[in-house]
Amino acid sequence: MFEILIDNYPVLLRGLTFTLIVSLSAIALGMLLGMTLAFALTSRFATVRWLAGGYRSFWRGTPILLQLLLVYYLLPEFGLNIPPLPAAILTLTLNTAAFQSEIFRSGIAHIPQGQIEAARMVGMHHWDIRRRIVVPQVFRLTLPPLTNEVITILKNSSLISVISVTELMRTSEQIASRTFQPLETYLVAALLYLAVNLLLARISAYLERHMKGGLAAE
């Protein structure tokens, strides 16, 4: 097993880098879209709420593999030929945005209404309230479920091997078919995924401890 790791560490490292690039960009982009959706879900306008709800239902209710195939094979039908890597990032972004919107929505609901009323009283603009009061606190409040989502996306990124993005999973498939040692190769892949996920969990626990201060009192 260690031979596999030693013999192939440059390709494995490259695969892992791609896995990280894809999942982290999807998480970051998904955060922007997810936060926007969360505000749309709590909008004053019924149409906006309804549209955001429909989006969320679709992206939460169908398998991510299917979404990936849909984006990758369906877009060319409309004349949009996108290479596998952007298609992968796009799908994971659209998917995680739906899950993150729900996480953020619960965070928004937990911010004491009094703060927002007070901010409105002192004449803060609608957008300023969101940017300076709601969003920073929502991140602190939702850190644990957000970490779960990051780990989920990192694991789901193994699916993009199906549309031939050479990330960690596909790299392992290639090594396995070359060395005829599937068990050892996939164990190495499993350990690499596990290492990254444990690291992420630790970082999140650290952040959680250090961001406790200044949290909204009920």
């Binding site: 169908t62 398998p63 094979y73 369906l74 392992s172 599937p182 050892e184 499993a190 995924y193 596990l194």
Partner: protein, 235 residues
Amino acid sequence: MFDFQLLFEMRGLILQGLWNTVWICFLGCLVALGLGLVLASLRLSSPRLVGPLVATYIELCRGIPLLVILFLLYYGGPSIGLRLSAEIAGLVGIGLYGAGYFAEIYRGGFLSIPQGQLEAARMLGISRLNILRRIQIPQMLQLIVPPSTNQLIILVKESALLSVISVDDLTKNATAMVNETFAVIEPYITVALLYWLIIETIARGGYALEKRLAQRSRMPTPSSSDTAGATHATS
């Protein structure tokens, strides 16, 4: 634009995929639910040796992608003499992977039961198994139904991965239809709707069960749970 004729011609593939997805998910989820209960009880009841082992197993389930687990079972298995058909490898994979998640859900449920009740039951000489069956499980059911429903839905969606290890499930047959007919929209949309149908059924079932448990439960009402807390505090 949407060619129903084509779908009708391809009904065999769709139905076969639906059937495979349904039976593999059903049995896989049963394994996951059962094994999860065993893992959770082990983790809570034996803190010395088995507990940490089980905790490690749960960490592994939550930290490794299902796709990797499936590949390990299906492609890696034969090198240690474990030869499984794709369907069985998928079933076992879903079972082992889901068990880790269910174990955590059950653990939350177990921990929510006041310690005083268990002590009282042990005092009265009720056997360990009977405590589990008559005291712990009935009370935790109400609490664990919503997260378990969620987890079941996640497992059904993740089962689309079985297509990668060549199980003829909904996703694989949809891709087969695409390759055969060059129609992309019809197969994938149909399959998406079918997944949604399965998931909606599970979600509705979960709600119904939740409602029924809420009506029938003899969960302590707020006043009686106060006394339970008080007993616990004085004990």
